[in-house]
Symmetry: C2
């Protein structure tokens, strides 16, 4: 199991790491960003698009796939890789985060979570054992423990209880898990409380799991607080296991969190922003609907090597968005994901070349999201935890 | 100008023809189906997708592009080919059909058509001269005269007057047209009246244009009537010019109309059906939402060589549509267009091989749309003439 991750280099000044994840469906370099395809598809993109833009691993969600088309259906069709026609590594999330985002539609006990489907209101009971069973049947390369995710700002006592319950559930997940070649990751919780985070890291590492995620962050807390909690948590995680920060995907956060020693990230932010017409550029993100793009002959980002930027003007994208042409959502998605994937590639290279601190500094000086951007991203993050209500959402 | 079309072979039994259209942006074989990208994009597809599925020419609409982003904008950006990043031949429609579909939003005189934008209600006046000017600035390889399109079932006297007006406008278009290497096609009208159709064909051929379209058909009239009107009209058109039947795109219509000697077709039907989950198969079209596809491991059409069928099960498409995943609309579009493009390729080959009558018979025996299919397609055809109200429409 410890063969999953090979640490290749650590930046002596920041803690940033370069490594390789080796799975039954191939090897991928870290730091790694994992695009989100909750329902078994990264919105608007084919596997061919994903390969072309350099994505190495995709994430799907056991909660969504359990409700539609059903785990048993995917198993009968030969598993998730075949269903999606994606032959690279897949990570599945257990569905914990989605179930707990259902608010009044769910009730939690030590045994598990009773919830109503956001699609048809039908009642379901999910336990740690079932979450593992489902993920085994889907056949992902990396799977996640079933955890309880209280929202940011929740009562400290409730967060403490949720963290303890997540620990018990992690143990039950580990006991239930048996599929060969599939790595089960634990998830460190503890809200915004440093002591609780440390306890959670200590407990989970005692389970000797092949990888560790950090959950319950980037939910609206100030960025400085997120960074200081990473400072508390990451050093407690074993050096030879991958560290996965869940739900983080803005360029500036990725650079900062790689500097804190994180190896893997997932987030629907880049793809969701794209569908909302917000495209990354060297300095910040831009609204493609802005009138100044109406006649812009150049690409969205002159430094970008993606299919969109190599072939289309910003004016064309502006036009597609103003007409709500479906092609626009796809071209913007390709661009935003390529931007993020290339950022990860650049960070990796700079770590290997011993130039990461300079890269970080230069990038963060140049890339300056406005306050409005940051607020909009926080709003998008909240949206992520909600059900998908509209196909363009 | 007569270099535009090379007739290679005519089926002696049916009149079906194989030829080549040679334009400044390359040569394409006929019979040819031209996918519709009214707003400068074939919905959901990149130029790369279109090339991969074998599309040779695309259609854009001067009416849509005039309203958004504006003809002048596209001209400044280097013309429509560059704007769309499509280096193959482009055909633009003049916008006549769209303007006349606006119903109470337009008023027609001999001078031209006064209409209100379906987007913002602004008032515009379009004349034959302006329609040519716009299409010259867009820079398409084939452009169309500005015509008046009365609906099926309109008063015979009104249809006669509209046909005469279309003739006058065709002359004005020809007089105005001057762009080198751009072929102006006339459009035969006359509603469902054989004598009027004959007169229209005679008048337009007297203009000695490089190609002739047949307009105002497939608007809800019985299919037998459409065929008999083709019988009246097509033989009057010069043999050495391409014949283009506008707005026809169902598999059975394409086969029948090729047999009547038509060389080119356009229709939004295959792509619009795809977005509505109706996918072509060997026997008829199927609703991908049908429960029997839920666990169908095979592709939509086992005989299909498209990207979708080579990579995904019908069950996966069923899933994407049930979740309204945008990828589903695209995969279905790729399939339907590839189905139609391959059908054109097969017809061409059978014409060259002297086996077209057998191909036609075999195809039409196997491909049997239900009455409900035909009714649904007629409804879709009406929708085509309307503005695009919803991005998935």
């Amino acid at each position: 199991m410890s063969q999953l991750f090979q640490l290749e280099k650590t930046c002596p000044k920041t803690g940033a790491r370069a490594g390789t994840l080796t799975t039954p469906h191939g090897s991928v370099p870290t730091p790694l960003f994992v695009p989100v395809g909750s329902q078994g598809a990264v919105k608007t993109l084919t596997p061919h698009d994903l390969k072309s833009l350099g994505a190495g691993m995709v994430l799907a969600n056991a909660y969504h796939l359990y409700l539609r088309p059903g785990i048993e259906t995917i198993r009968r069709l030969g598993g998730l890789h075949r269903f999606m026609s994606w032959d690279g590594p897949i990570l599945t999330d257990s569905g914990g985060f989605q179930v707990f985002s259902l608010g009044h539609l769910r009730r939690i006990s030590d045994e598990g979570a009773l919830f109503r489907s956001h699609i048809d209101g039908s009642e379901h009971f999910l336990t740690p054992e079932l979450a593992i069973e489902f993920q085994e049947e889907l056949g992902a390369d990396i799977i996640m423990v079933f955890d309880e995710c209280p929202p940011y700002g929740d009562d400290p006592e409730r967060i403490r209880r949720a963290t303890e319950r997540s620990h018990l559930w992690a143990e039950r997940c580990q006991r239930r898990h048996g599929r060969e070649g599939q790595a089960l990751f634990g998830i460190v919780h503890g809200g915004t409380f440093a002591e609780l985070r440390r306890q959670s890291a200590a407990f989970l590492t005692s389970l000797d799991l092949p990888g560790y995620a950090i959950g319950g962050l980037s939910l609206g807390e100030p960025k400085e607080l997120m960074h200081s909690l990473l400072d508390e948590t990451v050093p407690l995680l074993p050096e030879d296991r991958p560290r996965y920060l869940m739900g983080v995907g803005s360029p500036e956060d990725l650079v900062e969190c790689v500097a804190h020693g994180v190896d893997m990230f997932d987030s629907a932010l880049p793809t969701r922003l794209a569908r909302n017409g917000a495209v990354f550029s060297q300095d910040r993100r831009h609204g493609i609907g802005n009138a100044r793009f109406k006649e812009e002959e150049g690409s969205i980002d002159p430094h970008c090597d993606c299919y969109t930027c190599r072939n289309f003007s910003a004016a064309y994208l502006h036009h597609l968005f103003s007409c709500q042409e479906l092609l626009g959502y796809r071209l913007a998605t390709i661009h935003n994901l390529r931007f993020i994937v290339r950022l990860m590639e650049q960070m990796r290279q700079s770590i290997l070349d011993d130039t990461f601190p300079t890269f970080r500094e230069t990038f963060l000086q140049r890339y300056q999201p406005t306050d409005a951007d940051v607020r909009a991203e926080q709003k998008q993050k909240w949206l992520e935890s909600r059900r998908d209500r509209h196909p363009l959402d």
